[in-house]
Amino acid sequence: MASEKAFITQPGISQPNTKWRHLWKYRALIVLAMPGILLMLINNYLPMFGIFLAFKDLNYTDGIWDSKWIGLDNFKFLFASNDAWLIIKNTLLYNISFLLINTILAVMLALLLNEVKNKFASKFFQSTVILPNFISMVIVGYIVYGFLNPELGFANKFILEPFGIDPKNWYAEAQHWPYILTIVNTWKNVGYAAVVYLAAIVGIDSEYYEAAVIDGASRWKQMTKITIPLIAPIIIIMTLLAIGRIFNADFGLFYQATMASGMIKETTEVIDTYVYSALMVTGDTGLASSAGLLQSVVGFTLVVTVNLIVRKFSRENALF
């Protein structure tokens, strides 16, 4: 019996058997990676399989599986309501202006920080500009409220009133918000980006500058001819990451800073806030899932496309 068994296993199954034995050798590593694998399964992969919900008329009495398939009706409904265009337009316009303003200001700020010779001063400036990035969006909401409270806010009482301008009801007037949100976003994020760029600048080999000084290059020339070209790759990577997320708005900014005011939706509703309120406030799962899927698909396509383009020009700077 024993010899017969050996006869059967030897020729036929030996191929996968060694493969399994090979993996078995690394079982400890698999065990170490397992918690991470499981968590990603729960937090990332299971939701991905949930995208089919966008094609269902989800109702909880029938359950998720037994709800009716309705094809593209959710999308038809979303686009018929005009909401789709508004939230896409707002999301894109905000993200594009955030990206432009933040990149330009952050590079400028990093260049300025790099010119500070005193170590203590340099540390002080770095700490203060990065501080807003440390605090939660909730606190940002409080700060904005401190400035814009219609009855007591600093903006109305101490800026508009002395100039004889009527106080504004900020949380009810949509037209101001593109400016307000841009300022708040810059305030919160520009220091962080600047420190990333500063780190890149500090990493530049000092020989370049020494050679340039010998050739008589001014500080301005050194900046434009050495520093900026050498940090260009990191600017490209940061921009790439931002473009990939151009369909994702910063939910905290648009929810907390506006205090979720319904009266200014025209200029403050973005895809993320729309999906949130469709799901949690009005309970419209059809709109939530179709807008969510739209966002994920466009986001994915953008990352992959932008990455392909960058790869064409320089493999080095591509994300993957």
Binding site: V116, N149, V304
Partner: protein, 292 residues
């Protein structure tokens, strides 16, 4: 190199920039210590004509709610950060081993999570209808435990700064993978652990979104979520004030100052530890900026 002194114009510009970053906090602080009657008459100001600490007195009278929220936030943060560091580094360690046969597949598995997401609704359903963890602290902890980007950063650190020969020799000496990981990798990885740990701490501490989505039970409100409620919901602020009202002799309830005092209490600890953490934070940004 030729001049040691910083150009004064640069100093002026940077000083203005720094002030712009700090002044908003000052405004919140000043509202919190302003006399309510003065504020009602004159508005929020950077230097109120009359000061008063009544708002803080109110909060101390009814400290229970805030202390509880502090506790929830602290608990979630501590558990979250410890577990997250373990899970992230263990996965990153497996990935960093060149001879590990599943390395490519695992990298791909992680990359996909960074590129595509199922969206809010399916995510919400997984936690509420599948795991049934809504209204528990578990719902606040799990979502932040692992992020693809952090795994990649740690993997890069392990591959770049831990020589493979070190792992080889320890295994020749008879150490298994677990032993290698716990007694060689972890002690050598303090810089990256500190950095990622700090990022995770800040994101757990500042998180209000998971509470907004999953938590209904007032006893499980985290600090940031309690603040969200007090900012958005005037009646919620009133209940906090009312509870303390009976025991204080004040006639007008300083609602506006109480609101801002709560914000100050939440900012407080962060601003105090900030100078110590700042060093790691800046270093972390650099690590994060290096492509894996």
């Amino acid at each position: 190199m030729n001049q040691k002194r910083t150009n004064p114009i640069i100093v002026i510009v940077l000083t203005l920039f720094s002030l712009a970053c700090l002044i908003p906090f000052w405004l919140v602080f000043m509202i919190s210590v302003a006399d309510e009657n003065w504020v009602t008459a004159h508005g929020y100001s950077f230097w109120p004509g009359k000061f008063s600490l009544v708002a803080y007195q109110y909060l101390i009278e009814d400290a229970e709610k805030i202390l509880r929220a502090y506790g929830v936030s602290a608990l979630v943060t501590v558990i979250g950060v410890v577990v997250s560091l373990f899970v992230t580094s263990a996965m990153a360690y497996a990935l960093s081993r060149k001879e590990f046969p599943l390395r490519g597949a695992l990298s791909f598995y992680i990359l996909i999570t960074m590129l595509f997401s199922g969206g809010l609704l399916p995510w919400y359903l997984v936690y509420t209808r599948f795991l049934h963890v809504q209204d528990t602290l578990v719902a606040l902890i799990i979502p932040g435990l692992i992020g693809g980007f952090n795994v990649i950063i740690m993997r890069t650190f392990f591959t770049n700064s831990i020589p493979p020969s070190l792992i080889d020799s320890s295994q020749i000496d008879g150490a298994g993978e677990f032993r290698t990981y716990f007694s060689i990798i972890l002690p050598l990885s303090l810089p990256v652990m500190a950095t990622i740990g700090l990022f995770t701490t800040v994101s757990y501490w500042n998180d209000w979104f998971t509470s907004l989505v999953f938590i209904q039970n007032e006893k499980l409100f985290s600090l940031q979520y309690l603040l969200t409620k007090t900012l958005m919901n005037a009646s919620f602020l009133q209940t906090i004030a009312n509870k303390a009202y009976s025991s204080t002799a004040q006639v007008t309830t300083p609602l506006e100052s109480i609101r801002m005092a709560m914000a100050m209490i939440a900012i407080g600890p962060l601003v105090l530890v900030f100078p110590f953490l700042q060093k790691y934070f800046v270093r972390g940004l650099t690590v994060g900026a290096v492509k894996g």
